[in-house]
C-alpha cells in the first residue's frame, strides 16, 4: 500500500515538474513557483511537549560532546565561508522555535552531512573534500536545514517512542556501525537510546517520505538563494561514484530509503525546470581556496585512517585531490605514494566485474572474511593482480621520488621508498634509502630502531650473511 502511495507521489511530483517546465520553457526562470516550494515547516502547528524538550537537551549534549572531543574544526576563514553559504540558503525564512542554526565542520572522514534537531548542521571534512564548488555545498546545507525546518527528528522521535521494538533496532544498528565514523564518538554520549537512534537516522537517512521532502525543500531553498540546482544532481553523482569505491557494510534503518540514482534524477528534473538564468555555481578554484586549505590537515588524517582501515581506493581519491590542488607540497606526494602502496594488487577504481551484484558479493566476502594479507595473496594469484601491483608500485615510486625532488631534506619519502623497494625485493635500493633516512632523522627519533633492523635485513640479503 505504502509503495503505491510513494509511486503515485513520485509520478505526481515528476508530472508537476514537467508541466511547469513546459509552461515556463526549458531553463526559464520561475522565481515565484520556486519560492512557493521553499517550506518553512509546520511552524506554529508544531507544539513542543516535554518529550521534545528532553530530546532537545540530548542534542545540546551531543554538540558539547563533539566539542569536548575536539571533533569540531575551528578555522575562522572556513567558518566565515560556510556561514555565508548557510545564511544565503536559509534566506529570510523565520527560524523555527528552539532552533539556532549553526554550521559546523566535523573532523570525520564520512561523506554524509547531518543536522541535529537544535539546528546544528555538521559537515564532515570527508564531505567537504569530495565537493567541487559552492553550489554543491549550498545543496547539502539546503537539504540538512530542511530536516530541521520540517521538524523531522522530533516527529520521528514521537513515532519511535510508540515502538518498544526500537530498542532492538538500536542494538542491531550499533553492531553494524563501521569503525572510524562519527557514531563511534556519538555512542559515547550519555543520551537516551532514542536520541542515539535519531542521531543515526540523521546521519544515515530518514524514511523515504522525509528524505524526499528534504530533497525538495533543499533544492528550492538553494535555487531561491541563487545557486544552480544542477549542482545538487552533480553531488549525487559524486556520492554514487564514491559509494562504489569500497565495500561498506550496508547501513540503513529503513529499506525504503530513496536510492542515490533516483534522487539524482529528481534533482535533475527540478534543475531542468527551474534553473534561473543567472544561477551561480562558483568555481572549483574559489571553493578549494576557501575550503581545502583549512581542512587539508584533516584530509591527511582521514587518508591515513583510510590506509589503516583497508580503504586504499578512498585514500587514493583523497590524496589525488590534495596533490592536484597543491602539486608542490611533498607531504601530499608522500601521502599519494603511501595510498598507491596500500592498494597493492587492488585496482584504483572498481572493475566492471566488481560493480556487478556477483562482484559486490565477492568484495563483501573478501572484506568480511579475509585479512588484508590474505586478500592480497588471493589477488596476486592472478596475472591481472600481479600487473596491477606493478602498476601501483610504479605510481607510488613516482610520487615518492616527486616528494624527494621537491624537498631532498624531507626524510619520510626515503623511508617509504625503502619499504617499497623491499616489497619489490630491491634490497640494495632499499638499503640506500634507509641509510639516507637515518642520516636525516633526529638521533632520538623512535623510528630509528626499526629502520636499523630493516636495514640490517636488507644488507644481509645483499651479502647473504646475517648483519649485526
Amino acid at each position: 500500500m505504502r509503495k503505491c502511495i510513494v509511486a503515485v507521489s513520485f509520478v505526481v511530483f515528476c508530472s508537476t515538474i514537467v508541466a511547469q517546465a513546459a509552461s515556463a520553457g526549458s531553463g526559464a526562470v520561475a522565481p515565484n513557483v520556486v519560492q512557493a516550494q521553499v517550506s518553512n515547516g509546520p511552524g506554529a502547528a508544531f507544539q513542543f511537549t516535554k518529550v521534545d524538550d528532553a530530546l532537545l537537551a540530548d542534542a545540546n549534549a551531543i554538540d558539547a560532546d563533539y566539542e569536548k572531543k575536539g571533533l569540531v574544526l575551528h578555522d575562522p576563514g572556513l567558518q566565515a565561508y560556510i556561514d555565508a553559504v548557510g545564511k544565503r540558503v536559509l534566506g529570510d525564512r523565520p527560524v523555527p522555535e528552539k532552533v539556532t542554526y549553526r554550521f559546523l565542520v566535523l573532523r570525520d572522514p564520512m561523506v554524509n552531512a547531518f543536522a541535529l534537531w537544535n539546528g546544528s548542521v555538521y559537515i564532515p571534512t570527508g564531505l567537504l573534500a569530495l565537493l567541487e564548488n559552492e553550489a554543491q555545498l549550498a545543496g547539502v546545507l539546503g537539504h540538512e536545514t530542511a530536516h530541521v525546518y520540517e521538524r523531522h527528528p522530533y516527529l520521528e522521535n514521537r513515532s519511535l517512542r510508540k515502538k518498544v521494538v526500537a530498542s532492538k533496532i538500536i542494538e542491531a544498528a550499533a553492531s553494524s556501525v563501521p569503525g572510524g565514523h562519527v557514531l563511534a564518538a556519538a555512542s559515547a554520549v550519555a543520551a537516551s537510546d532514542v536520541s542515539t537512534l535519531l542521531l543515526q537516522e540523521s546521519v544515515y537517512g530518514y524514511r523515504r517520505e522525509k528524505e524526499s521532502q528534504a530533497d525538495g525543500d533543499g533544492l528550492a531553498a538553494m535555487t531561491v538563494a541563487g545557486y544552480d540546482p544542477h549542482a545538487r544532481a552533480a553531488t549525487f553523482e559524486l556520492y554514487d561514484k564514491y559509494s562504489t569505491l569500497e565495500y561498506e557494510p550496508p547501513f540503513t534503518l529503513f529499506n525504503d530509503h530513496p536510492k542515490v540514482a533516483e534522487r539524482r534524477e529528481q534533482a535533475l528534473a527540478f534543475a531542468n525546470a527551474y534553473t534561473p538564468r543567472d544561477a551561480r555555481t562558483g568555481t572549483t578554484q574559489d571553493y578549494l581556496a576557501a575550503v581545502l586549505i583549512p581542512i587539508a590537515p584533516a584530509i591527511v588524517s582521514d587518508t591515513n585512517t583510510d590506509i589503516e582501515n583497508r580503504r586504499p581506493r578512498t585514500a587514493v581519491v583523497r590524496a589525488t585531490r590534495l596533490v592536484n590542488a597543491f602539486p608542490v607540497d611533498p607531504q601530499y606526494q608522500l601521502l599519494l605514494g603511501n595510498s598507491y602502496r596500500a592498494l597493492g594488487a587492488e585496482t584504483a577504481l572498481p572493475t566492471k566485474e566488481e560493480l556487478t551484484s556477483n562482484g559486490k558479493a565477492q568484495q563483501r566476502k573478501e572484506v568480511l572474511n579475509m585479512s588484508e594479507q590474505k586478500e592480497q595473496e588471493a589477488l596476486l594469484k592472478t596475472p591481472e593482480g600481479q600487473a596491477t601491483l606493478k602498476e601501483n608500485q610504479a605510481k607510488a615510486e613516482k610520487a615518492f621520488l616527486a616528494a624527494n625532488q621537491i624537498d631532498p631534506q624531507y626524510a619520510l619519502p626515503y623511508r617509504e621508498l625503502g619499504f617499497l623497494y623491499e616489497d619489490e625485493l630491491r634490497y640494495s635500493d632499499a638499503a640506500a634509502n634507509y641509510q639516507q633516512y637515518l642520516q636525516l632523522v633526529a638521533p632520538n627519533n623512535l623510528d630509528r630502531l626499526r629502520i636499523k633492523r630493516r636495514l640490517a635485513q636488507c644488507l644481509s640479503h645483499q651479502t647473504g650473511r646475517a648483519h649485526p
Binding site: 521494538v165 532492538k168 542494538e171 569503525g179 572474511n369 585479512s371 632520538n444 623512535l446 630502531l449 626499526r450
Partner: protein, 243 residues
Amino acid sequence: MKLRRQIFLAFAIALFVCASASTTFASVLQTNSSYAQRKVSSGKFPIHSACMMPPEGHLAKIILKSMGFRDVQEIPQESKTWSDDIEAMVESHLKARGINVTSATNPLSSGASADAIKEVIAQVQLKLKAVSALMYKKPGAIAKSAYTLGDQVGMLPCSENSDILVFVQGGGQVFPIGGPDDAAELFVTMADVKTGEILDLIELYPGGNFPSSAEVYFGPDLDVELASKNVGSIPRKTRKSGQ
C-alpha cells in the same frame, strides 16, 4: 491479503523471540577461548619478556527504563580504576610465569620524549582496532599468521628488549543494583614486538557476578590459559603439579 499479513506477523514475532533468546543464551554460554600460533605453544618462539601497552578498560552503567528502553551511562572514573586493576592483574600473572615486564610508555635508553612515545602508542592502538574487527570474528586465523600490526610496533622503545607486546582490553556492564546481568570480559592480545604479527589472543568470559577485584574474577582463568600455552619460563608440568 489478511492471511498473508497474519503469517508475516507470526513470522516476525517468532524471529523476534528467537533473536532475543539467542542473544540471552549467547551471553550466558560464552566460554573462555584462546588462539595461539603453534610457534608459541611449541616453544619455538620463547617468551621471556613482555612490553605492556596501556590498558583499555571500559565500564558502562545500565539503567533500565520503562517499556524496555535502557540508558547506557559512561562511568569514566570507575573505568580508569578498573583499567589499572586489570593491567596489574595481567602483569602479575605474566611475572608469576617468569616473564620480565616493561611498560610501553617507558622511554628506556631511547631518549624519546613522552609525547613521541604516546603518539606511537596511539598509532599502534589504532592499528589493533583496525585489525580487531576481523580478528575477533575469525580468531582461528591467528594460527595461520593472518593478522599483523605491521613493524611500526618496533618504534616503541621497549621493542629493543622485549619479545612480545601485550594489549589488555576489558569491557563490562554494571547495573545499579548489581545482579546476574552484571558481566565483564577480558581480551589479552600478544603480538611479536619486532614484526607486529599477532601471536596469541585470550578471551575470558568468567560469567557470574562481577566483583570489584579483577584478580578474583579473571585471575584463575587467565592462569589456566597462560599455562596451557607454555607462556613464560615455567614449564606446563610444573604449573600443573602446583610447584
